[in-house]
Amino acid sequence: MKHFFLASLIAGAMALPALAADYTIIAPAGPGGGWDQTARSIQTVLQDEKISGSVQVVNVPGAGGTIGLAQFASQNSGNPNALIVGGYVMVGAILTNQSPVSLKDVTPIARLTGEYEAIVVPAASPIQNMEDLIKALKADPGAVSWAGGSAGGTDHITAGLIAKAAGVDPTKINYVAYAGGGEALAAILGNQVTAGISGYGEFEAQVKAGTLRLIAISSAERVEGIDAPTIKEGGLDVVVQNWRMIAAAPGLSAEQVTAINADIEKMVNSEGWKTILKTKGWQNTYLAGDAFKAQLDEDVAATESILKDIGLVK
């Protein structure tokens, strides 16, 4: 009996200091996906650079991040230790899901990175390049199944834009949603779907190992270090950049927001962060403060029109 209480006390003592971490970052997606990787990279750098003593990452997956966002906004009001990773996917998901909680309900801190969308096929696929994929899509849009992240996210939007640019009805695309990039990757590797679409970072290791074939990247021009043509070169005028940001809880004082901003700025300027951007192939698109807020409003408006265009939002 004594031992039981002793064990519980030790457990409690262990748990309490960890729960009182300097920052808890919500990754509103399943393990292995882009937001998860972003959150864990931030965790590593904040700890390594001694900006924060202890950082925890909590995964709250599903529905383009709106589940995590809703939980974050409702549970952390006024909590200066809570952060959430988010991005372009969330902007779309809030619209398609008619989410009661939007980015207006959190305190955006800064845009951190941007990543281009990569289109891959399994190594054994007969599809060799973007032209082949477009041909298949034109022949029968339903027969081309795309694996990617949540419904209405960047991956889904990009697939829709490709279809639209190819002259195919974007509402006819056969898009299969997975909880995160990790699960989608397994489906592509297992030859379950025709093509995969997600951030380049999620496919990079497999592309280098030769198990996936990278057929196009959604940048305006070729990216250094990535051996693939752009979607534009494949004949379609589609450019998508999936940016990622970090936001804080609602209801913070101006001093608290300034303190978080300072920590994030310190992180972005650190060597550790630069190294991670390089190894993950992310572009540094750091933008903070009012400039970021203005950019965010613009993006929300633009995304709404794209989603209506391709029939994802009525």
């Binding site: 292995g32 864990r40 965790q43 599903g62 809703a70 939980q71 590797l189 379950q192 198990t211």
Partner: protein, 505 residues
């Protein structure tokens, strides 16, 4: 250097006295935190990982391995002794394990869980070392339709956990399936049955439901019976240790559990819970003591516990060989590995052999330490049952609440804990089994999403479900699991079945 040399070298390093101490500390911490209901392995590893950062790479890898296996094992102790599963994979352990504990056989139940976990951990870790590339190929051949077939098989066979009345069992299952619908639908992004409450967009947390139904419901049930039942259960009847018969009845379930758990753990959408369900129903099929199931059959503890631990090692297969974290625990581990300079991925075994084999050796040592720590503690753990009821159940309530807050600090979550506790209480009063509710909540969404993905890929063609050999075999097994007992019962009213069992070896 070949595989064996690397492994031997890793074990030599891991077996140094200082590293053994780290392993022991890791296992102790992992078990202590894992014991709290509601705190599963993922949270345990997340909470304790920072502790390892201060050590040198070898030491931290070893301590980490200890925490991982300790956290996986910790949940089974409370399942068996207090009928409070700490995580979804321990739900079935509570079914038989707690019955055994009440009959004074808590010692053998804990022992078979500990030794089963060791055996499974040993075999599965060796499997990770030597056959990971083949297992990963098999695991990736599972697409939506194969997963759906696996879920159907699980649904059909898990009816073994339904207790005596199939109708009541099915009712409970559908309660679980109903709860499973709540939340945002993944394929369309539409909210279902959330009634505009943001907390419900997330769906219902499995651990909250499991802890509420088992722990809170049980506490209320005991409390309302007042003094009518004896104050104490007999803590120990017979030996605290496993008897020769216990060994004879345990070793086959350990092995079967391992072979079920390892490949399912390696599947990107598999998981320890499905492995433990399938192992439980397998043991019920194979057991020569079917009548004991539901009343404390040792096979029902040995198999699922082995499956649970084997699947923990299985999770490392896609993580190390593909860099693909398939569970929350694995994702946290990925962050940990990167701290040690280990970059999981397809090229890992080629570029970083020392670290990989160091990790595998650490897992073997940690697994051994788990046994060293837990076997002597069994005598102490079972004394827990001699605590007077009011204290014991007050303690259970405290830890159930603490665990829920620890996992998800929200008032709404606590409210759900209470509501589901009342539901569990009501179901107990009216004689409905509660495990199927939890099973429904776990399997329902998986089955639904996989079926819809399969049909989306085939553009609505239902025959696709039976066109893959793996799916066809799984469906056939599911069909046999329903049909064979029916036919046999009709022909010989159970005689044939018992004869089958007698001829088993």
């Amino acid at each position: 250097m070949g595989t064996f040399e690397f492994l031997l070298q890793g074990i030599l390093i891991a077996a140094q006295p200082m590293n053994l101490l780290y392993a022991l500390i890791g296992v102790t911490l992992g078990t202590a935190v894992g014991v709290l209901p509601g705190i599963g392995p993922a949270l345990t590893v997340a909470l304790l990982l920072p502790v390892t950062y201060k050590l040198d790479p070898a030491g931290s890898l070893i301590m980490f391995a200890g925490i991982y296996y300790g956290g996986m094992y910790g949940g089974s102790t409370t399942s068996i002794l207090l009928n409070t599963p700490g995580e979804s994979a321990s739900v079935v352990t509570a079914l038989e394990g707690n019955k055994m504990a009440r009959a004074g056989r808590g010692g053998p139940a804990l022992a078979t869980a500990a030794i089963g976990s060791f055996v499974a951990g040993l075999i599965a870790t060796l499997g990770l070392a030597f056959i990971a590339p083949f297992v990963v190929k098999f695991a990736l051949s599972f697409g939506p339709r194969e997963y759906f077939a696996l879920m159907v098989l699980a649904f059909v066979t898990v009816s073994a956990a339904f207790g005596d009345s199939t109708l009541r069992g099915l009712t409970a299952l559908f309660v679980g399936l109903g709860l499973a619908i709540i939340g945002i639908d993944q394929q369309t992004g539409q909210a279902r049955l959330s009634f505009g409450i943001p907390d419900l967009l997330d769906g219902i947390e499995v651990t909250t439901l499991a802890v509420a139904m088992f722990a809170i419901g049980e506490t209320l049930f005991v409390a309302c019976q007042g003094d009518r039942i004896p104050d104490k259960v007999e803590a120990v009847k017979g030996s605290v240790w496993m008897s020769a018969q216990d060994w004879a009845r345990s070793w086959k379930p350990w092995l079967r559990g391992t072979f079920i758990g390892f490949p399912i753990g390696a599947m990107p959408a598999g998981g320890a819970d499905i492995a433990s369900f399938l192992s439980y129903s397998t043991e019920k099929q194979f057991s020569r003591h079917k009548e004991e199931f539901g009343k404390g059959a040792i096979e029902g503890v040995a198999g699922p516990e082995a499956a649970n631990n084997a699947s923990a090692a299985g999770t490392l297969v896609p993580l190390l060989s593909l860099g693909l974290p398939t569970t929350a625990t694995a994702a946290i581990m990925l962050a940990g590995f990167q701290q040690y300079g280990l970059q999981p991925g397809p090229l890992l075994f080629a570029t970083n052999p020392q670290l990989v084999w160091g990790l595998i050796a650490s897992l073997l040592i940690a697994n051994f330490m788990l046994l060293v720590l837990n076997l002597p503690l069994i005598g102490l753990w079972v004394k827990l049952l001699t605590i007077p009821k009011p204290w014991l159940y007050a303690g259970i309530l405290l830890f159930a609440t603490l665990g829920t807050i620890g996992a998800n600090p929200s008032v709404f979550e606590l409210g759900m804990l209470l509501v589901f506790g009342l539901l569990g209480f009501a179901m107990r009063i009216f004689g409905y089994p509660i495990a199927p509710v939890v099973v429904g909540l776990i399997l329902g969404p998986m089955a639904e999403q996989q079926l819809r993905r399969a049909l989306a890929i085939s553009q609505g063609d239902v025959t696709t479900l039976f066109m893959s050999p793996i799916a066809a075999v799984l469906f056939a097994l599911a069909f046999l699991a329903v049909a064979v007992p029916l036919v046999l019962r009709a022909r010989g009213k159970g005689e044939v079945l018992s004869q089958f069992a007698a001829n088993e070896d």
